[in-house]
Symmetry: D2
Subunit: 311 residues, 4 copies
């Protein structure tokens, strides 16, 4: 059964489901909503599902911390795909509700900062209460507990609601990044426009530890596209870093930087190399002199000559 | 009126209120709970309150992103004090409820990861739904909507509930850091065990920008105690950094590092220098050679001699 | 008397004299040749001379080590001018000597590597013996001790010799840099195309000490144009560094870097800021973002605002 | 014939000969003095000699530039051994000469700074003239051209002279380092207390080029024991760097740093890994965390697991 099941962070009618349905293979899989990121991922760990789709980064809120933390700990998982979804909210109401009727609004806590300005301008007196998800917020509106919910317009039909306003998003370019996660296997093939995700623990608390970490990347001309500190849960001031970098683990410069980190950090977890969504090889940052695969190969060959006395 | 009012992130009965009441001056102030971090802080900005207490960092969840973001943008505010509160939850129920009766639990979304393991071990089948705050969760239990709420034990009396289990915290050393915020004025006096908070925007997206930022600190031997990337809301991949560092803005090494950042970054916002909670001068990291105030003074004096030809 | 005397590394007829005579003020000074770099400089230290001209860098041999060492130690001196002289040798012989008659050649040891290839091609069997200076070599040819001397063509007349071959120089762009040295006083005025010379001692022998030194410059975008390690004379492996950098000590970025070095190094000796010979402001490397004087001034002003609570 | 011939920088009676005779194998070789460093080394290049001994570093004068430059260019050579010789001079005179008779003294130009203070104190009026070598200076005293020569005491017998004063050396710990050079072959075996010599050319003249070079070493915890800039002969301001580092080319951290340099620099010449004279494994600087061979091996193995999906 498991090979045909893909779990996703539910409930139905969320942006996550919309993102999952944008993948071609979703058409032939059984898509199962789960109640939380941990349960979504644990279904993959246990073998109950072949893959799971979860949000990982939001252009307004930043990293989805529960996803970053769940991937960094527990049984190893790997990212094979990413999906980038532009985010715009609709204000969903029961049919017949007018804007002036809206006294209470709900939505996922992550959605709130993305509609805060819109709320202040259009519903300054409405009281916000958080729901467990945008889909759940819509359900609570359906049940009459709140007057309106912020959710994707696609959720309206699922819950028998009407989009009173559409295209709401405080920030330009609001988008959410989702990842398709499976059990560890050979990484997705290199495409030339790839991204690699790792979680890195710093060994000791000395001032320069983060600097040293970054220098391992800089020394090989590896560009970071996201870096976030996450507490390890072992007291204020203890962190790990969740990092996305440009390139694939089979790129020599990436492999060399990761090995450098592995040597100086107590723990490095490789979380996958995969095609970067909405990104072409021509969008890649120019490589620094001496960091192409051929430069590494030439240096290997030169070293062997030196060691053999053929220099 | 305003000088006598301190706002805090409400509702009543949360850890924030407990933290605020730990400050001696709280006894002589009118303490007003607010519904959100933005409204708590805006009361200070508008002059309706003299100061506001909000959570800024949690040892499990990391930075309280809404606080970091609200301090970094909008009308300038400054931090004058910090309060460190050990966090342990009680499971609050209506009198008479047994553990086996608990089918639904609630609490603030930030609390959930801090009790997840306890829940899995003790209430594996209970359904979690998030509340707007721990205090609000307790209220919802009082109203009968949920069977139990995670909150501080001190909240039980406020809502007529009973602590069924106390001292719940998945992680050792769980603590939350709160800050007392006011309008910009002269920073708190230097004590020798101080912390400085800044928000720093990176100019362009070049790979080494974060490295350069860290080198401004490293060059002066300034230790970072927290660094977090936060999206600017202008698209995936655009960040600012929220940073806590050891030392006071009147320490020469700190002043020099901040001026270095100011020169190379498009925006640096100084958010205050204040005594580090639970920290003595003897806890400070040893200063690197050449970074004491006297070293800066000697270098100033030497430069003047060189420029005057008295070298 | 002293104000009218300029000493130079003699004897007469060397490139150093030619360099000194290229300075306009030389026409009104009494030019006194000295037997060595130490005696040339000591005449200034003692007050017997107002200034001294000595070679400091040769494009083939590198730094003139005796000059670098003499400036770095002893009573302080300062550089006020530099002179850049293209170097080409003439082969000076007694009148009547043919190339085929030349069995022995002489010249300063520093000249030898600059004519080595020419010798190998044109006088492969001639025996080289070093002289104390090129001028001294010419004198020894005059006295009949050697058959030919390498020296500047201008030396022929002084010693009654004939230039048998002219324009000899193995390397393209051969040039020597000379400096005019005086007692410490206010540095030469800033011109916008300046150079600053310093001697820097590293504190301890830890691997990263030189790296830290360079980072003080890099952090302020200060470009180095020459760096040489020199033994301190206290055993193999103990060095100081002789450094030329772009800019003037009154440039804020230069002042800031020098103060940074002064703080972390046990000894820094400022040896002068002076116009860079053959260099226009338009030849300067572009300044890094944030390192102009106005950027430093803006950062000063911002810091004062922060410290006063006017941020 | 060649296998039995070792050339050395002559003439007979110099410190170089003394250093060569300290090697056990010298007893079974034909030791041939040569007139210059280039001719000494070219005898090896041409096959006329199996090996050559030349001075490479002096604790007072620094690198012997002609040796550094000759090794860095031309047909490749490799260093297989080093010899460290404490340096003390004798003042050699013709039998019967008193100190008060000495009006002229000679010696190699490199010797002069090592006896300058002694001369100033004991023979303040004596005139120095340089000789092509210390041995040559002794010969010129024998011939009556000068009154005294500074040379090793061992040279007295060769030239029929008497050591008037012994143990002269201005600096404490004066020593010269010599290297035994041959044609490229497999490097000397790793002993655990090794040194590696390389010549490195910087690609372009950008300010951070030397910083990047040093970071390749720092990133792998490789300690430098000597670094000298040498002009390339292509105009003022163009350098290569002559570097000695701790460790052997078969040490993973050294191999990795050299490959890193090879990738980013236009030219790197490996000049040998060989036992460090007068140095035990216990004298080595402690290795930085994560830079032992086992750490590199573990990182290789980890990378392979990641690339295969066995992470």
């Amino acid at each position: 059964m498991s090979a045909s099941v893909y779990t996703y962070l539910g409930p139905e009618g969320t942006f996550t489901e919309a993102a999952l349905r944008s993948l071609p293979e979703a058409a032939t899989r059984e898509l199962t909503p789960m109640v939380s990121v941990p349960t979504t991922l644990d279904a993959v760990r246990s073998g109950a599902a072949a893959a799971a789709l979860v949000p990982i980064e939001n252009s307004v809120e930043g990293g989805v911390t529960i996803t970053l933390d769940e991937l960094a700990t527990g049984e190893p998982l790997m990212i094979y795909r990413e999906v980038l979804l532009p985010i715009a909210f609709a204000l969903l109401v029961r049919p017949g509700t007018q804007l002036s009727d809206v006294k209470t609004v709900t939505g996922h806590p992550v959605s709130q900062p993305q509609v805060r300005k819109w709320l202040a301008a259009n519903l300054p007196d409405a009281v916000w209460e958080s729901a467990a998800s945008n889909g759940d917020g819509a359900r609570l509106v359906q049940e009459g507990r709140y007057d309106a919910a912020f959710a994707g317009e696609f959720a309206a039909a699922t819950y028998g609601l009407t989009p009173l306003v559409s295209g709401i998003h405080d920030a330009q370019n609001a988008a959410t990044r989702f990842v398709l996660v499976g059990r560890p296997a050979r990484p997705a093939a290199r495409t030339g426009a790839d991204k690699t995700t790792v979680a890195i623990w710093l060994g000791d608390d000395h001032p320069g530890a983060l600097l040293e970490l970054l220098q391992e990347f800089a020394a090989r001309g590896v560009n970071l596209v996201r870096i976030e500190s996450r507490p390890t849960g072992q007291g204020i001031g203890r962190y790990f870093f969740s990092v996305d970098l440009e390139g694939h683990i089979t790129d020599r410069r990436v492999a060399s930087a990761l090995m450098g980190l592995k040597r100086i950090c107590p723990n490095v977890r490789f979380l996958g190399s995969y095609p970067r969504a909405g990104f072409e090889p021509s969008d890649m940052s120019p490589l620094r002199y001496g960091t192409e695969d051929k430069d590494f190969a030439a240096a290997d060959e030169w070293l062997a000559r030196c060691q053999d006395g053929r220099a």
